[in-house]
Symmetry: C3
Subunit: 265 residues, 3 copies
């Protein structure tokens, strides 16, 4: 994974892929800054009237339901269909799925109408989509990853022909066939809002510069992102100064740090 | 107040109460980060279709009219009613009340339809709700707190059976019976957007872990928050680096600092 | 330009002009913080029902189409008309004009219905409004400023009786008669979201304290803003810590730094 990750971040910095984000109000600013820091070019746009044009310009599409409304869902579906037609990867973040019916249904509608490339969430969000009896508390996970859940995730990946990527103490990425586990990342990241959503955006950027193996691109994104957290925490383990150091690391981390610290297998 | 405040912040960090925020676009990110920093669990959600479910999961509800629209007002009222039914505290921030009729009316409608636990604002916002001839300039206060205004605030607390909490050079918290004054806090906090709204969110977290005395919980929130500002300003008195230091302090401030620096009477 | 810029920032800090922003979701927080840092008083409000009242309280109006919707466009036009009636300067930021028809049309509608004081954007945004065959990639410029484009900009300024202000490696400000060029500013500013939108807001503050020469006020805003970037980059050339240092500089930069480092001619 080390040479792959080094090459992927280099490609992002060279090509500055445009990432079209239809995301929640909380993280629009932080996701844009995270994408700019890694060298991608973010655009946030949600109005139905410009969806086809905007998605067509992009190299990847992020759909994030964190503050979903009916109108926005319609835009997400149109953008997703446009991306599908053009072969642009679609990264879906099911924020709070399992917490309310609106959110669980929004994810289902998107997945029924669009082909999703990567579904990235925390354990209870992802599993609530597989089993309707799993309840999420707000937007934070109430579950840890068990062997049983990994099997459920693999089956979801196969059924939906997509990558399932679960964030947690150890991250888990699968397309049903390949399995990657990522041990980079720090607990303080859960004390900064938008860290998960930012990872979804970074995953989109890694997918934007990959032709075929989207599970591998996702695993590289998770490793790189977590590794930047590992380095930032050396500067500070408090959430204000950690955020600042993390953005700096996303901008400056390259081959040397990836070679020394990447923990993806 | 010192042992109470120490215990309250410890309870927040232990229980991580879910705080449901229906708040303005400007501060969604900063309020979420402030709540995460003190150990609470924020969720931002405003869609009518998920209000009952989301509020039901929460331990406190924040209503903030900073960028109010008609649709959002409807959601706020439904969330407020849900909170009332379940005995969940409702913290209302009347941002810019007195500046436009829309805002003043929005607050009136919320207070007619829901029982508000704490009304937190600056002096001109709060007083404009008591007297229609007080004009707010944008969202910043044009008034300082006088003895006469404190009497008006006490009467408002009695009439509305709620806590009235007024931010200013010295903060003033009353439920009509008890009166608390808070001398923590720094002028630089007025040069960072969302500081007032963040205090509203923190007040919600303190109310979420209090059973009965909401005025005391509010005063503790004000003291703790201002004290974190007092400590952060030692790191920097400029708004960029102050913000960073402030989030760090909200995360790390505990019994020792509270014992030494709390100024609530 | 040096004495003028010194006086302008002093006036902003003394008067704290209220700047009414109808802006995009991505930058609401950062624009508010930028305005607070320079000493202005920001308000973000977009609901049609309060547009006339809110704009009437303001000393300048910012219209920014970064996440435009139909409803918001209607509010922008009403706010713009209100500002025109009262002689309040209107600063328009055509974010992403040229990328989608919605955005290009939104700018045209605003300019048909309101008299715009300053139009501030990057090269491809501004030029796409002059020539329909210029295409913007997302919200980032795809063009650099050529002599031919400067002539087009001057003609646009004359035709629209407004100031045209183009951000780039060297900024270009003209009202068709006067021409200012600004060499302050740093490449890292393009790696922080909302930097351009923040400059639009700062331009509004400088126009709010100027009676007549809006091109000069705009050039002073550009010089001051870029200069703060020049100083902040000495603290850090990475996007997280640069942002923090930049806000600190906007707050503290005064006569001495302006005298030494302003590069406007």
């Amino acid at each position: 994974m080390i040479p792959y990750t080094i090459e992927a971040i280099a490609r992002i910095r060279q090509r500055a892929p445009l990432i079209h984000n239809i995301t929640n109000f909380v993280v629009m600013n932080s996701s844009a800054n995270i994408l700019l820091a890694i060298g991608a070019s973010p655009v946030m746009a949600h109005c139905l009237a410009e969806m086809e044009e905007m998605t067509s310009l992009a190299s990847a599409l992020v759909l994030n339901i964190g503050t979903i409304e009916e109108d926005w869902l319609e835009s997400m579906i149109l953008a997703g269909k446009t991306a599908n037609t053009l072969g642009i990867p679609v990264i879906l973040d099911p924020v709070g799925a399992g917490a309310t019916r609106l959110r669980t249904e929004a994810v289902r509608k998107i997945m029924e109408n669009c082909s999703v490339t990567v579904l990235r969430g925390n354990c209870s969000e992802i599993l609530s989509l597989a089993a309707s009896d799993i309840k999420t508390k707000g937007v934070d996970s109430t579950l840890s990853l068990s062997d049983e859940m990994m099997e459920v995730a693999k089956q979801m990946a196969i059924d939906n022909e997509c990558v399932i990527a679960i964030s947690g103490e150890e991250d888990f990425v699968t397309d049903g066939d390949q399995v990657f586990r990522v041990r980079n990342g720090q607990p303080i990241m859960t004390r900064v809002t938008g860290t998960g959503c930012g990872l979804t955006a970074v995953t989109a950027a890694f997918c934007a510069v990959e032709e075929k193996n989207m599970a591998k691109a996702t695993a590289a994104a998770f490793g790189f992102y977590g590794l930047c957290g590992d380095l930032a925490v050396q500067a500070s383990n408090k959430p204000g100064s950690f955020q600042v150091a993390f953005l700096d690391q996303l901008y400056s981390t390259g081959a040397e740090e990836i070679t020394r610290y990447l923990k993806v297998r």
